[in-house]
Symmetry: none
Subunit: 223 residues, 4 copies
């Protein structure tokens, strides 16, 4: 938790520090991030850092929380589909939102991704978030079964694992595959919008047929 001093800072200064901190962690990872480098980049005194934060860990957790809040706000900008409908519609909504946010905030996304992949301190926050993700997907799938959209014989553990493993690295994959500026990547009518939607289609098709109740006629999905 940052010290009150940090929140009393002028908005632009606080924002600049956070931005450079994101830069630092994204560039060097949790373990090799350096307070010295950060304060040099930010043009503030070494001692000032400790007026704002307890230590690097404090700043790190601040960044992760910040990322979580920002992503939540971003997702809420587009209302989610009716949960009684197919969970794949829901997934598509979430997928568009997540990728949109992460492509718009690639460095912050990279930090969160690495945190969930085992970089960063092993304790608390991260472990909880991984578990929360799995739990969330399990619940979503269970609801899907209840509403008759999913195969009742589905192995929930396996399915939640597939979802987590697949969706987490998705935007990193996109960013690496399409070597473009992030902002160009997801602009609604941008040059890659079609390509991305195609990938979403392919992905969701696999998941849907892998997990869903597929009537024979639905098999001709991509005529």
């Amino acid at each position: 938790m940052p010290k009150p001093t940090f929140f009393n800072l002028p908005d632009d200064k606080r924002a600049r520090i956070l931005d450079l901190a994101i830069e630092e962690f994204a560039a060097h990872g949790y373990r090799a991030a350096s307070i010295s480098r950060l304060v040099a980049a930010a043009g503030i005194a070494k001692g000032s850092f400790y007026q704002y934060f307890d230590d690097l860990d404090d700043l790190y957790h601040t960044l992760l929380h910040l990322g979580g809040e920002q992503k939540a706000r971003y997702l809420q900008a587009t209302p989610p589909p009716d949960p009684a409908m197919s969970p794949f519609d829901y997934l598509r909504w979430m997928l568009r939102g997540s990728v949109g946010f992460e492509v718009a905030n690639p460095r912050l996304a990279r930090i969160a991704y690495q945190a969930l992949m085992g970089d960063g301190p092993a304790e608390g926050f991260v472990t909880e978030m991984r578990a929360a993700l799995m739990t969330f997907y399990r619940a979503m799938l269970a609801r899907g079964i209840e509403y008759g959209h999913l195969d009742p014989g589905l192995d929930l553990d396996a399915a939640a694992f597939v979802l987590t493993s697949t969706l987490l690295p998705l935007s990193q994959y996109l960013l690496s595959r399409i070597d473009l500026e992030p902002e160009d990547l997801v602009r609604p009518g941008g040059p890659h919008a079609a390509e991305i939607e195609a990938l979403f289609d392919g992905l969701l098709h696999i998941l849907e047929h892998g997990m869903g109740l597929h009537a024979p006629e639905k098999a001709t999905h991509h005529g």
Copy 2:
């Protein structure tokens, strides 16, 4: 690339150094691994390290190559099924082999996993290996389509991505979920063999139905 000096070492000494290096990287990660700690643990002189390797990066890549070779040897111990048969039989073979190897070499597996997840130096090797994995899966899937086992409309990129993302973290997931000693985990008749096979079944079912040509009668997979 290690220097010739390293290969002239007595076998046991060379093995001990590699083993402790694995320990060091697995325990502290690529960025926080320390030559000082390693030579102290190995009981060799600081200078000797530089007789064997250029630097930590050199050793790191050596370890990754070593892991690759060992895994290849391990997999080849069990002959793969006929590639003309269902790619899911092939996948199951590979899955059993991979998980078996990684659970038998948890620290080495952890290093490789973290390397592929973005720890380690961003350059060369790692990126290549990720690409190689994707390419390998793409080829496997293409062959599956060719032989009529897979839906010809399958989005190869999406499918290869799902496979890569799902199979890479699988053994880490298993190790975390089943809180047991690694060696107990995969012993053929061990206490968790059934549980693991069930997870494999669930996983392959999803992938198979998501990607395959599913005859209607196969839908009752787990009666």
Copy 3:
């Protein structure tokens, strides 16, 4: 010397600051005492400290003076015996008083003791106080000779040195030897009152016979 600001403070606030300052110096010693820690404990602003004192040294000397005054007041509460009588009666009075005060104010006593033992700044104050102590004892001893209570051949320097060296650490010794709460230690009828009086007897006996004119019959002091 504290600044006037300090004396204009509400009594309770001023007292609290002094009390916490005593705590700080007693706990960490002169050299490791920290303004930062003190103001944090006292809940005052960093800058406020400098409104009250020049620096840590200023506060330190204030504490020492304060201790001196308090001790003087404490001693005067019990009227000293007639100086024309044996200086050992006088010593016993002083001893009781000193030990009583120091045991009642252990942290303040500890600071003063360490100051006189060479902790603290080498300059001025401390040296003076040590010299003053010696001078005081010399005068007392000289008066004892004058009044015929002491051996006229007594080496005044040696004797004053013995007194100073012996009495200064006395209460520290008592506190360390008897592992009890300070307040229990000197309560008139307390469990250790007898033990302490016995030590006083032993001590004064040695000093008296070492320095005094001892009539043969007084040799049977502790039948």
Copy 4:
């Protein structure tokens, strides 16, 4: 305990480092001694210090042990008097030796003195040494009683306390009183030899008469 590296150093370099370390601790005390200052003075790299010692504490204890050994060697150069004789003869021997050593090694003596006075880390070594001193004096006094040199009614605790308290700071007192170069102070025929012996006489007289069995005729000690 210093690391082996330190003992492999050339003699003169090792000696210079120890000497400057003594200087550092004597000048600034245990708590304010600084590795940075020391290495600057010694002209060695910061890192080199840590090749020799674990940390400041390690060096500090090394110095104390070194002082103890040197003093023991110094004392053994003059054979002690027969312990069956008066303990005051023994005391005089010890006193001459101690003062001689401490005046010849004033800074080392100051460090040890401050250590025994409560500077330095509270743990182990120091507490033990204080207790050892008291025990040693108690034993000496008990032997004195046994051999009939001391008053059998003597309070051993009180007496041992007087001895410890008096003799410990003696050379510090001498050094402060006689403002001379240490080496001039104890040279056998030096300008202050007589003065010092006189102080010894005075001191021992007090102790002897305070603790001893004084036959009436011995009372005329300084005729």
